[in-house]
């Protein structure tokens, strides 16, 4: 099994701050982590390698500092990593991001699977996995909650949909996107951390992946963010305190009236 895992470095969601004047996100001083959903992709990739042999390669498109996410992936047990970094990649939407990742994957030779997280917590689109598959002309199985069986040519997967699980047989190579249910991500080991410190992580630029410059970054992105703003909090909470036994009934009555007014009862 040769498995490629695209991971994204994202700001830790708890600490997102906005510049109220400019309406932009303040990224300075915000801690960066591996997109939490990508940890599941890394975990299942490592498990598959443990069962079937082969290698797991993590890749990320991002600024130079995204290398720390790749080192963490190595510490967890990935065999190697590649950073895709170039000023020309900046400002990419999911179209242009998928393009760069697909071009890089093409350059990596043959592989059996590309395993993504279901979505990134910052962009939160879930479009990059299917996007990579489309560029590579591969099948994509999204929302995978269980990998049941894998052999050289195909795998059997459970895909979580609105009211149940689809059981799918997927020809390889394929792109898969993972949801949380699939596995419990392991913690980095001491040995892994030491390897991660020393390992050489190559940086590929637009040139290295023979990318078409028109398709990169902001230039290559069909979409434009025209405004970022904070949602207005319009809710006025009617709050009743009923810590005391005697007023529980009263509080419940008020809630029932509230629900009746809104037609829920």
């Amino acid at each position: 099994m040769r498995i490629i895992v695209p991971i994204k470095q994202v700001p830790e969601t708890n600490t997102v701050k906005m510049d109220e004047n400019t309406g932009t996100i303040i990224r300075d001083g915000v801690e960066s982590i591996i997109n939490p959903l990508d940890l599941y992709a890394i975990e299942i990739a490592i498990q598959l390698r443990q069962q079937h042999g082969g290698e797991v390669i993590a890749i990320s498109m991002g600024p130079p500092k995204a290398v720390t996410a790749l080192r963490e992936a190595i510490a967890m047990g990935c065999d190697s990593a590649v950073l895709l970094s170039d000023k020309a990649f900046a400002g990419a939407d999911t179209w242009a991001t998928s393009y760069v990742l697909a071009k890089a994957i093409e350059r990596m030779g043959s592989y059996d699977m590309v395993i993504c997280g279901e979505r990134a917590t910052d962009g939160d689109t879930g479009q990059v996995g299917p996007g990579i598959a489309s560029f590579l002309d591969l099948p994509v199985a999204s929302y995978i909650g269980k990998v049941e069986q894998v052999d050289k040519k195909s795998c059997r997967l459970h895909r979580l949909v609105e009211n149940g699980h689809e059981v799918l047989d997927v020809e390889l190579p394929a792109v898969l996107t993972m949801v949380k249910e699939v596995a419990d991500p392991r913690l980095p080991t001491l040995g892994g951390k030491q390897r991660a410190k020393k390992i050489d992580i190559p940086v590929w630029t637009a040139n290295d992946i023979e990318a078409d410059l028109d398709k990169l970054g902001l230039t290559g992105s069909p979409t434009r963010v025209v405004r970022i703003f904070r949602p207005k909090v319009v809710r006025q909470c009617e709050k009743i305190t009923a810590m005391d036994d005697s007023i529980v009934d009263q509080a419940v009555d008020k809630l029932v009236v509230f629900l009746q007014k809104k037609d829920f009862i």
């Binding site: 299917p130 591969l138 099948p139 689809e166 069909p222 970022i228 009617e238 709050k239 009743i240 629900l259």
Partner: protein, 337 residues
Amino acid sequence: MTKNKHKHSGVWILAEQADGRVQRISYELLTRGRDLADKRGTDLTAMIFGNDINAEDLQELINCGADRVVTMEEAKLEHFLVEPYAACMLKIIEDYQPEIVIAGATSTGRTLMPYVAIKANAGLTADCTVLDIEEETGNLLQTRPAIGGNILATIKTPQHRPQMATVRPHSTKPAVKQDGRTGEIVRLKAPAKYLKSRINRVDFIPDESEHGLQDADVVVAVGRGIKKSENISLIKSLAKELDAAIGASRDVVDRGWLSYPYQVGLSGKTISPKLYLAVAISGAIQHLAGMQTSETIVAINSDPDAQIFNVADFGIVADVFQILPVLSERIKQARSE
């Protein structure tokens, strides 16, 4: 596609079917699509892929706002498979050159649309909650929550056509039938080469509880404050009285009191029911990300400073074990009256 921007016209939605019946999301998209088509002064078309789709349902799409319905029906299109669905959609885009294509942000829409958008060289915005037309340019304005619902972003696709977007389910009301609407149903044939799939759907396992969290109008959600697995029965009683689906915070799922399909939040489901009743949930930002767009939010929590009250319309600061039995009983009474 950039150069021929002005050749593209018309608003299209992707209607979805299951077992040959048109699904609710399709009517929500008709509400969106009709509004956009009227603002743009153009027609609204619903495309739908499936097998043996109920004919009355197709007519109902017209009754509810579509000017035209375009179907492709084949045994191989019975269930969503990304390659054949994408091939069919791309063919339609090529032949009809729509200006706008919207689909639901469902497991189907969120997989199919990005696959198609790459090949159509089109911009795609995920999970929009507001869609509008920019008057001066006619561009589609797509507004969506980002970064766990902390911010909203408005996105447009100035040059590329079609402009594509997925729309969050339950973010608008389904369109209702209007008298005297007429429209055309066009049945297209999908050539065999479009129907090839490297994915084979061998089985479907419905959720045991059929709780339908994503589609529910009312959700009762439970957090760690419920203390142990046995107490989930209290939540079940309340949910039953309210005819509600059950949801859970991650802590509840991590402890195995409910399974993962129940999880609401950043790493679980994003829902916006009409009523979200949060029981003993603190309201961590990752949880809020999955439910704060609900129409009405009610919270019960013993901590007066719990974050959840910041997004609630109605709150009770109390011990859930005192409130729940009384509440279920009262609702039962009120319903029988």
